[in-house]
Symmetry: C2
Subunit: 192 residues, 2 copies
């Protein structure tokens, strides 16, 4: 792998920023087209596709940038998210943090889930697999071993982006309403 040429690097950054901005700004982020992004980045379409391959990948990269801080907190940050936290407390903190992240990035989550064909199963994305694995192990380390995987899936199912979005927009719950209900629910689930 060679070094990336200066113009290439510059364009990649411009594209990433333009895309993030468009997704964040647009009323319906999933309708932002690749041409829109190229135009906003001041770049040709060919450049865009050469850098990112396809739409899916571009979206994932934009997402990864936003996710990085949370990911790092969980992987190596201080309690209550980091590794030096008792399992039960950590599970609860992680679920809460992911929920907050999704609520704060609702627009991006929509774009991310847009292509839900067989080629794009949420449950096989690296992020999902990683967090599910972590939760599973945490649950197994102190509670029900045999059902740990199921419990982890279930916890994550309760904070799917579209469900959270519905609770806010369709049922008028505030973010703190949701976090409170979620906290109780997680506690109860962990009493399995």
């Amino acid at each position: 792998m060679q070094e990336e040429r200066a113009d290439a690097a510059r364009n990649r950054k411009a594209i990433l920023e333009a895309a993030d901005d468009l997704f964040a700004t647009s009323d319906s982020p999933s309708e932002v087209s690749m041409d829109d992004i190229a135009r906003a980045a001041g770049v040709g379409k060919g450049t865009l596709f050469r850098r990112f391959g396809d739409r899916r990948n571009l979206i994932q990269q934009v997402f990864a940038v936003r996710l990085a801080p949370l990911r790092e907190q969980i992987e190596s940050g201080p309690p209550p998210l980091g590794p030096d936290t008792p399992p039960r407390e950590r599970v609860s903190a992680i679920i809460d943090a992911i929920a907050v992240f999704k609520l704060d990035n609702a627009h991006l989550m929509l774009v991310l889930e847009e292509g839900s064909g067989p080629t794009n199963d949420l449950h096989e994305s690296p992020d999902y697999v990683a967090v599910h694995g972590l939760l599973r192990d945490l649950v197994a380390s102190e509670f029900e071993k045999s059902r740990a995987s199921w419990i982890a899936h279930s916890l994550l199912a309760n904070i799917r982006a579209d469900l959270l979005g519905h609770l806010v927009k369709g049922e008028g719950m505030s973010h703190s309403d949701i976090r409170l209900s979620l906290r109780d629910f997680v506690a109860h689930t962990l009493d399995y």
Copy 2:
């Protein structure tokens, strides 16, 4: 509203059958195009769109046909699905029945969830709203009133089609594995 002309009725049936067959047969049902369906039904594209308006609606109609028996069982069938069932038992039976239905119709579920833009929120579809309302009321009638809605959402989140599909294809669980785990989990959830 006039009577439907004979050729119109014939074509509607042909389209519905062709679509159902294509979705059931195809490896990736969400890639079945409207042209494919029109061709398979031996019908022009115009006819297809005049009858069904758009792709979404056609898919919903195909789905509705398959869903009808289950819907009726729940609305007015005998126990354990019908109304003459104690709430707790009925909730459990309904969740199980929906899970089985989704497992049996995995391909259709994929197509149904394909367009997940802001215009297509699962949680606002009539079917979801109906079953959520029913579960909410059942839960509220005997257990936690204040959290009934949340619990209903949570129960349904555990049987999302893509999650079930992952458990089967990604984790190799059998249908009965899933039903057993689900049964326990629902029981525990209802002990709130």
